[in-house]
C-alpha cells in the first residue's frame, strides 16, 4: 500500500499573506496627483502660472524621491507600476485647491515621521517641510 497522504502537513503550508502596501506608495501617488493638479491650474489660470508651476515641479520631485524609496525597499515586479494620474478638472479657485492639496500632503508625511525608519524620517520631514513652504509660494 502506498504511503498515507500527509493531510495534516499540507494544512500547515498556507500561502503567506501578501505584505501590506508600503505607506510611502500612497504618498507618492498623492504627489503625482498634486503635480497633475498644479500643472492643470498653471495652464488654465495664467495669474497662477508661476506659483503652480513651481508646485508642479516640486511635487513631481517628491513623487520621484518617494517612489524611489518604495522601489528600493521592495523592487517592483513590473516597470510600469506607476501610472500617471488622469488629467484633473481645473477647480474654480486654484489657490484654495492647491493650499488644500499641500496641507493634506504635509499632514500625510508628518504623521508618518514618528514611526518610520530613520532614512525615511528624514525624507518625509523634507517632504512635509517642502509642502509647507510651497503654500508660502501661493500667498
Amino acid at each position: 500500500m502506498a504511503a498515507l497522504v500527509p493531510v495534516v502537513a499540507a494544512c500547515t503550508e498556507e500561502p503567506s499573506a501578501p505584505p501590506p502596501p508600503d505607506p510611502l506608495a500612497e504618498l507618492a501617488a498623492k504627489a503625482r496627483a498634486d503635480a497633475a493638479l498644479a500643472t492643470a491650474i498653471a495652464t488654465a489660470q495664467p495669474a497662477l502660472a508661476t506659483a503652480a508651476t513651481e508646485i508642479a515641479t516640486a511635487r513631481t520631485e517628491h513623487a520621484t524621491a518617494l517612489q524611489a524609496e518604495v522601489d528600493r525597499e521592495r523592487p517592483p515586479v513590473s516597470s510600469s507600476s506607476t501610472r500617471p494620474p488622469a488629467t484633473p478638472d481645473v477647480p474654480a479657485d486654484g489657490v484654495a485647491a492647491l493650499v488644500d492639496a499641500l496641507t493634506t500632503a504635509e499632514k500625510q508625511a508628518a504623521d508618518l515621521v514618528a514611526s518610520v525608519p530613520r532614512y525615511r524620517a528624514g525624507l518625509l520631514g523634507s517632504v512635509a517641510a517642502g509642502c509647507a513652504s510651497l503654500r508660502v509660494v501661493l500667498t
Binding site: 508661476t50 513651481e54 515641479t57 516640486a58 511635487r59 520631485e61 517628491h62 524621491a65 504635509e106 508628518a110 515621521v113 514618528a114 530613520r118 532614512y119 524620517a121 528624514g122 525624507l123 520631514g125 523634507s126 517632504v127 512635509a128 517641510a129 517642502g130 509647507a132 513652504s133 510651497l134 508660502v136 509660494v137
Partner: protein
C-alpha cells in the same frame, strides 16, 4: 528661589552619541540663526520688522526647547559662540536677505540630520518642527529677495 526646578521633560532621558551630536549641531544652528537675526535688522527697512521679530522669537523658543531636551537627556547644551563667520558681508538689504536665507537653510539641514539619527518620537517631533519652520521662513526670505524657485523641493536635504 535660587534653584528653580526644571519643568518635567517629556523628552528622552538619554541619547545615543550620534543623536546627541546631531541635536547639539541643531542647537548650534539655532544659536547662529538668532545671532544673524540680530545682526541683519540694522540693514533691513522697517517693514521687515514683524518678520524679523517673528523669526527671532521662533529661534529663541526653539533654542530654549532644545536646551531643555538636551539637559533632560543628560547632555550639556552647547553654548552660543560670541560671533559667527558670515557667508558674505552684510552691507545692505540684498546681502541681509541672502544671509537670512543661508542661515535658515543651515537650520533645515541640521534638523533633517536629527531626523535621520534618532528613533525617539519626542526628538523626531521637535526636529520636524524645526525643519518645517525654518523651511517656511527661508521661503519667505527668498521671496522677499526675489529668488526663484522660492523653495527647494526637499528642504533640509544636504548639499
Amino acid at each position: 528661589m535660587t534653584s528653580p526646578t526644571p519643568p518635567p521633560s517629556q523628552g528622552p532621558s538619554s541619547l545615543p552619541d550620534d543623536a546627541a551630536q546631531a541635536t547639539q549641531d541643531a542647537l548650534g544652528a539655532e544659536h547662529a540663526a538668532l545671532w544673524v537675526y540680530g545682526l541683519v535688522s540694522a540693514f533691513l527697512p522697517a517693514d521687515y520688522g514683524n518678520a524679523l521679530q517673528e523669526g527671532s522669537n521662533a529661534h529663541r523658543a526653539r533654542r530654549d526647547a532644545t536646551e531643555l531636551l538636551l539637559s533632560g537627556a543628560g547632555q550639556s547644551p552647547r553654548s552660543a559662540e560670541a560671533a559667527y563667520v558670515l557667508p558674505q558681508e552684510v552691507a545692505d538689504e540684498p546681502s541681509a536677505l541672502a544671509v537670512l536665507v543661508v542661515v535658515e537653510t543651515d537650520v533645515t539641514v541640521a534638523w533633517r540630520a536629527v531626523l535621520e539619527r534618532t528613533d525617539d518620537k519626542t526628538l523626531r517631533a521637535a526636529a520636524l518642527g524645526g525643519l518645517t519652520d525654518a523651511a517656511v521662513r527661508a521661503t519667505r526670505w527668498r521671496r522677499a529677495a526675489g529668488q526663484t524657485p522660492a523653495t527647494p523641493p526637499l528642504p533640509g536635504t544636504p548639499g
